[in-house]
Amino acid sequence: MFSHDIIIVGSGLAGLRAAMEVAGHYDVAVLTKVYPSRSHSGAAQGGVAAALSNVDGDTPEAHIYDTVKGADYLGDQDAIEIMCNDAPRTIIEMEHFGCAFSRTQENRIAQRAFGGHSFQRACFSADRTGHALLHTLFEQTMKRSGKLQIYSEWYVTRLIVRDGVCRGVVAMDIKTGRTEVFHGRAVLFGTGGYGRAYQITSNAYANTGDGITAAYRAGLPLMDMEFVQFHPTGLYQHGILLSEAARGEGGYLLNGNNERFMGKYAPTKMELGPRDIVSRSAQTEINEGRGAGPKKDYVLLDLRHLGRDKILERLPQIYHLAKDFLGVDALDEPVPITPTAHYSMGGIPTDNDCQALADEKGGKVTGFFAAGECACVSVHGANRLGTNSLLEAMVFGRRAGKKLAEVTSSLPLSPVSEKEELAAARREVDLILHNKATEDLATIRNELREAMTNKVGVYRNAGDMEAAHEKIKELQDRFTRVKVTGGAKFNTNLVEALELSHTLEYSELIVAGAQARQESRGAHARDDFPKRDDQNWMKHTMAFRRPEGGFELRYKPVRVTRFQPEERKY
């Protein structure tokens, strides 16, 4: 058994930023199933929002309003205010930590336009902003290497909560296969999103919702799981992200007839509408037969008019991705794209200081915190604006760290039965390793992801979702007979089986939340309920796991401070 004051799970922007706040004050451990520099924060491309007003007259006020509206009024406005007001300080802090930002002619941090933002608000480092920020924080943790311990390639499978008090986690060392209890006074999850439930996704293979599932299995609710963001410009067939910065820099979206189709859907903002609207527009073009290519199953991102210099200077990663993965030279031809599952708005509900909520009435879990994509504060509501995710991870990662610094000393080291916890973890693994072994893991995973992409995607309806729900039930059953190979050291087959068991569990909540929500709001768009219904649905979904099996949905009102819902026009 390992013992630390604070156990941080996840080494992306949220986890590392929190770790920096507490390193040196407490005995801190950071657990990651990859290596810190390989966390998925690094895949963010286009920018990070902050009203620095380096290029125009932006204000935090405007940022707040844009975020509330972008969220289709499901965001909690007090949390959004905190995030947007803290944004300029966050960027300046990262600049001082050494992040290499692209610069304006006046030698200040450059800012570009982004979907749903009314000013040029996205600070960036070419088109690898997440990478630049993540590596900067990784550097800062190396600076503090004597003060915090990083456990790389340790896979956390269980969160230990007893009597409303969090006492640690159980984790498997992937390299050796041994399982250990990590006993602590406080635990913070910064474990990222759950986009790998989908076949077409921009998410890393690692984004299998392990953290949220561990919390859910420990008895905590999950919030707004039905809200999954589809990014309009995923590389055709691969789903790989091509940053919104491509449109922020002036790129066009074209259908098969070479028309800039966004004129029909968002006449003022055109390509720079928020992601939910642009994704639906692209999907509609494809569904109505105006796609491009022999199968008319994609639309096009056209950068050609930006010219060689701008593309290579501002969008080099996009240029290389199109070239390496599709063989398309974006200087000479438009790039085939489709919507791709991109961001998880839902997750572990928390208060504004990142402490996890135990129920819909505001009860809390002692000693358990969550920040970043795995958390649901909620600042993104029904649809996140591009560039707000990196911001959220850093703002709330730091807040979580500050809160941990403040409270951890007063939290007792509550007892843990190592034997019981290890036995429970072993039972989970045994169910996977020792069963009838008649079902193929990759087939189950494939069927799940296909069902989610085809039936719980950009557009949803009761019939499709019912079919998807049935399918998930069937796959959950088949998973009890899954075949997995043995071996202790670096058994990636066992890891992917554990990941799949998580994906099967939370996918049901995505579908169930979406089935229950009889309206269209943000990223949740229903053919059969095409209108937003503020009368009945200005509320967050909370899914609770029933100990006897199954789950229950309850609801929690949205916190509105200044902005009453109005029609969203772009």
């Binding site: 520099s37 600049e95 001082h96 050494g98 610069r103 691969h238 993965f325 050291k489």
Partner: protein
């Protein structure tokens, strides 16, 4: 669709004493990446095959491995480009111990990074409430080097690391460069001193493997060369590497050819008696085999032209 064979190095530490190759027949569809091939092999033929991967879009650096002996990033490489006589042979990264199949122990790589204190050390007088100014030109100095994804492809294929595990390695020296060339860092001279020491920038042999294998714009060899030049410009010359480079230029600039008697002593320092004595056995062996340079060094016939080239270059540099 082309039929090919994937010949993949397998090693299970629990049962194998040494790695062995296993062949997997494969129908190569057009446009498929190497990582997607491996994922299909694992899904359809052999779930026990172990390798690292995460983002699948060339930014996390997890899936570096060797194909036909050379490191690359599996996710961004088209498999069709890799077929040699119907075979794609895959090995784990080099210069590190194999844990299982294509998974290596990366700890030496991460440990090497820390040698260059890879974090910004700003001026203590900077106002933390305001962003610091940086020109676009200053950003461009660190634009390429900050694309490094720490995939360790360069570490794997570095020829110096093969013989000197203490060598900082290409990625680490690139990381050092990243701060030396950052206008906001206040410790440039200390950093230049540190990387000029033994196992640092001067130990690189310019083979260029690192830059050839680098999947990003980092291109470590170029960064190492820029660091060397910066060190000399900053007057960080009290080390063997810099003395060697300067001595090289001196003798060629003076006589049009290398003075091989002078250079070793110039490199270690003329008053460095223990090092000079250390050189003697090599000298003696060369003499015994008739490989010693002439004792009296003569200029080449057209030495004036060489001198003209040098003076032109000096003008250009100014």
């Amino acid at each position: 669709m082309a039929k090919v064979t994937f010949r993949i190095s397998r090693f299970n530490p629990d049962t194998d004493s040494a790695p062995r190759y296993q062949d997997y027949p494969f129908e190569l569809e057009p446009g498929i990446t190497l990582l997607n091939c491996l994922n299909r092999i694992r899904a359809e033929q052999d779930p026990s095959l172990a390798y690292r991967m995460s983002c699948g879009s060339a930014i996390c650096g997890s899936c570096a491995m060797r194909v036909h002996g050379h490191a690359l990033l599996a996710c961004k490489t088209q498999a069709s480009q890799l077929v040699k006589n119907g075979v794609i042979r895959i090995d784990p990264l080099g210069n590190m111990k194999v844990i299982r199949d294509l998974v290596v122990d990366l700890e030496p790589f991460w440990a090497s990074l820390r040698k260059v204190k890879p974090w910004l050390m700003p001026d203590a007088l900077d106002n933390p409430e305001k962003e610091r100014q940086q020109t676009q030109a200053q950003f461009h100095l660190i634009d390429d080097v900050t694309t490094c994804i720490l995939c360790a492809a360069c570490y794997s294929d570095c020829n110096v690391l093969e013989v000197d595990p203490q060598f900082y390695g290409p990625a680490t020296l690139a990381k050092g460069h990243r701060f030396i060339f950052d206008s906001r860092d206040a410790r440039k001279d200390d950093r230049l001193e540190a990387v000029s020491e033994l196992h640092g920038v001067w130990d690189c042999t310019h083979c260029g493997e690192c830059s050839t294998r680098c999947p990003t714009e980092t291109k470590p060899l170029a960064r190492i060369e820029e660091t060397r030049e910066a060190a000399i410009r900053a007057g960080v010359t009290n080390n063997n590497g810099a003395r060697h480079a300067l001595g090289f230029r001196e003798t060629v600039g003076k006589s049009g050819r290398l003075n091989e008697n002078y250079l070793p002593a110039r490199s270690v320092g003329f008053f460095n008696i223990p090092a000079l004595i250390g050189l003697m056995p090599v000298g003696i062996r060369m003499f015994m085999r008739g490989k010693n340079p002439p004792l009296i060094h003569h200029s080449i016939d057209k030495v004036a032209e060489v001198r003209r080239v040098f003076s032109k270059f000096e003008e250009y540099r100014k």
